[in-house]
């Protein structure tokens, strides 16, 4: 199974029926393809609607309805549109149950860096800072390393998106929960050992006494 699919499948299991969810651009968007049966989540798109549906069939795109990546999308029956102040009121006001985002770095204090690499890439934070501060749960969906280098650090070196807001980190190697005492490895992928995952993680991983095999 593709690494990205593995991550998306695992993240999808974190969602409960009726949850209001905001999916970041890229891999997080894939999560909607793997929502377990019997679970229906309501997708919020921060550019201004609730009730996001699937991508439209070719030729049926509506130029007025796009997702937060600017790509044509559909809405489900019962959807509603609103302006950006309302949209971020929903986000900042704690009305979003979970946001799923990628990351450049996460650290053992639950800090997140995801929006710029000084001197290299300065795309801007878009809605990410509001989402991370406002959503009830922040789930990071990312590959464990970048070109072999750890992304889960003792302390983020890149400019932060938010301080201490990350609730769960899901990578292709395992599931890690930031706690007050540090990072706890909750689940580990079938094909990975604790030593393997610690070797590519700069931060120290505490092992959950009930460590499970990653549930994908």
């Amino acid at each position: 199974m593709d690494i990205r699919e593995r991550i998306a499948r695992r993240v999808a299991k974190e969602l409960s029926d009726g949850d209001i969810v905001n999916l970041g651009i890229g891999m997080p968007t894939m999560v909607s393809d793997f929502i377990p049966e019997g679970v229906e989540v309501i997708l919020q798109s921060e550019n201004g609607f609730i009730g996001m549906g699937a991508a439209p069939k070719e030729g049926e795109e509506d130029p007025d309805i796009v997702n937060a990546g600017g790509m044509p999308i559909t809405v489900k029956t019962g959807a509603s549109f609103f302006d950006s102040a309302v949209s971020f009121g929903i986000i900042r006001g704690g009305h979003v149950d979970a946001t799923i985002l990628g990351a450049l770095q996460v650290d053992e204090k639950g800090n997140l860096a995801s929006w710029m690499i000084p001197g290299k890439m300065v795309p801007g934070m878009g809605g990410a800072m509001d989402l991370v501060v406002g959503a009830k749960r922040v789930i990071i969906a990312m590959e464990h390393t970048a070109k072999g280098k750890p992304k889960i650090l003792k302390e983020c070196s890149l400019p932060l998106t938010a301080v201490g807001e990350v609730d769960l980190i899901v990578t292709e190697m395992g599931v890690i929960e930031p706690t007050e005492k540090g990072l706890v490895l909750k689940e580990i992928a079938e094909d990975v050992t604790v030593e393997d995952i610690q070797a590519v993680t700069e931060a120290n991983l505490m092992i959950d006494p009930n460590l499970k095999t990653m549930d994908i």
Binding site: G70, A85, M121, M125, A162
Partner: protein, 217 residues
């Protein structure tokens, strides 16, 4: 008293160096005809407030590519590489603002608020130079209102009084920007008779709008 005017007439009010809010998210809900008109007219040194610079050939991106922007407030510039290039070259002074904060700052400008307290950006570079205020044990940034000389917005249906109805995701920053500028010009995808938009469904009241221009459909 119809507010419908020709493009050239409406854009008369936009001068070099002005602060201009332009609505739209990745070009969706952006008044493309007004943007094209600005470029045609030749205004320059603009201070643009918008949420993103779309793509080089789309929406606000065209103003960037055509060197009309001296200063920019936006939440995201990553989809238009030209913005980053000009920023790095020192040609555009860019301030990045979280998208939700940007929406509230513009809303505050239009609603006569002196600012709003947001938790967004605490502990990040966004807090630099800003007052921090603690309420109920939680830290917030004091974010100040934004206003502009001109707002360029886009409506899906607009009547002759300037009442606006938006379709789909085109709404985004349009309603807030319509409240926060001295002169508000709306590009109408479709111009309708007064009363055709149900008074209950008008999103931007015509009292905010100065001029209505017919845009491309």
């Amino acid at each position: 008293m119809s507010k419908i005017v020709e493009l050239e007439k409406a854009l008369e009010y936009v001068k070099d160096g002005m602060t201009v809010m332009i609505a739209g998210f990745m070009g969706v809900g952006t008044p493309e005809t007004l943007v094209d008109g600005l470029i045609e007219k030749g205004v320059k040194d603009l201070f643009i407030i918008c949420t993103d610079t779309a793509r080089p050939e789309k929406g606000i991106g065209k103003l960037i590519v055509n060197d009309r922007v001296k200063k920019l407030i936006a939440s995201h510039i990553g989809t238009n590489p030209v913005t980053g290039q000009k920023m790095n070259a020192g040609e555009i002074d860019v301030t990045l603002v979280p998208q939700g904060t940007l929406a509230e700052r513009i809303r505050a400008g239009g609603a006569g608020l002196g600012g709003i307290l947001t938790p967004t950006g605490i502990g990040t570079v966004v807090e630099e130079g800003k007052e921090k205020i603690t309420v109920d044990g939680k830290q917030y940034l004091l974010e100040l209102p934004l206003k502009a000389d001109i707002a360029l917005i886009r409506g899906s249906k607009v009547d002759k009084l300037g009442n606006v109805w938006y379709k789909g995701a085109t709404r985004n920053f349009n309603p807030m920007m319509a409240t926060a500028a001295d002169i508000v010009i709306v590009e109408a995808e479709e111009i309708v008779e007064i009363g055709e938009i149900d008074p209950n469904d008008v999103v931007t009241s015509g009292i905010f709008v100065d001029y209505v221009v017919k845009g491309e459909e």
